[in-house]
């Protein structure tokens, strides 16, 4: 046997072992890569979920665009104002002044919205706040005048 032959044999023997070793390393590396990727994906999913939760909490800031076709559940116009007034005003004022004014505004708002006039609908809501405020203020002023004049007339 020539000295080179021995080396060649040894190399020949060793080459598959190296290949097996390399394959094992590669497999372990691939497994690590896959695991890392999964871990990365998992953390990304977790991040997305937390962002979605945050966005849902502040959904008003991330409201769908006006061209969105997704149906949305919304409170009727002046809903919060009515809740506030229900707390402060008497039943008579609520039934005869506030509810009637709000009913008119909601009716006009729906008409404008159905006609595709979104800006007009928004303007009607703004004007609605003013109308309700005026109605309550005007009623109070008239009541005060009645009280003041009535003191001298009667």
């Amino acid at each position: 046997m020539k000295p080179d032959e021995g080396i060649e044999v040894e190399l020949e023997w060793s080459i598959p072992a190296v290949q097996r070793f390399a394959a094992a390393v590669r497999a372990r590396y691939d497994a690590a890569v896959v695991a890392g990727r999964e871990a990365k994906n998992a953390s990304r999913a977790e991040t997305n979920a937390s962002i979605a939760l945050w966005m849902s909490r502040f959904s008003r800031l991330f409201a769908p665009s006006r061209n969105s076709t997704r149906p949305a559940v919304k409170a009727p116009p002046l809903h919060r104002l009515v809740l506030l007034i229900n707390f402060f005003c008497s039943k008579r004022t609520r039934e005869r002044v506030v509810n009637q004014t709000v009913a008119d505004i909601r009716n006009e708002h729906c008409e404008a919205f159905a006609g595709g006039e979104r800006w007009k609908a928004r303007w009607i809501v703004v004007r609605g706040y003013w109308s309700v405020g005026t109605a309550l203020g005007f009623g109070k002023i008239l009541a005060l005048i009645d009280k003041f004049i009535g003191r001298f007339v009667k």
């Binding site: 039934e95 005869r96 002044v97 509810n99 009637q100 004014t101 709000v102 009913a103 008119d104 505004i105 909601r106 009716n107 006009e108 729906c110 004007r127 003013w130 109308s131 309700v132 405020g133 005026t134 109605a135 005007f138 009623g139 008239l142």
Partner: protein, 109 residues
């Protein structure tokens, strides 16, 4: 001794006055031919003389003065709105007061 309001006879009882804006409301209700109207209808037909913010306050005052009477529409009658609507019509006293006011204005105006 001062008489209480409830003890006054019908002849002694003072008929309350009508302001200009209240007269507009009464005139519109009279022109509707006895038909009941709600506030927004009155505002639309008044050509800007009545405002949305004041019409219901004035209608309430007219009701206190017994010149108009109102009833609440049942939900079936008004399907467009979940809040119950109130419709108004002129009473006999309102007609007489309005006629007296217009006669007075014809003579003295």
């Amino acid at each position: 001794m001062k008489k209480r309001d409830g003890a006054r006879s019908a002849s002694e009882e003072r008929v309350p006055g009508i302001t200009g804006t209240e007269a507009v409301i009464l005139r519109l209700l009279l022109d509707s031919g006895g038909q009941e109207m709600y506030g927004l209808e009155l505002v639309k037909e008044s050509d800007g003389r009545l405002k949305r913010g004041t019409v219901y306050v004035l209608l309430d005052r007219l009701e206190v003065k017994r010149f108009v009477e109102s009833r609440e529409l049942a939900p079936r009658e008004d399907k467009s709105n979940p809040l119950p609507r109130r419709v108004y019509r002129v009473t006999g006293l309102g007609r007489k007061a309005m006629a007296a006011r217009e006669a007075y204005r014809m003579v003295f105006a």
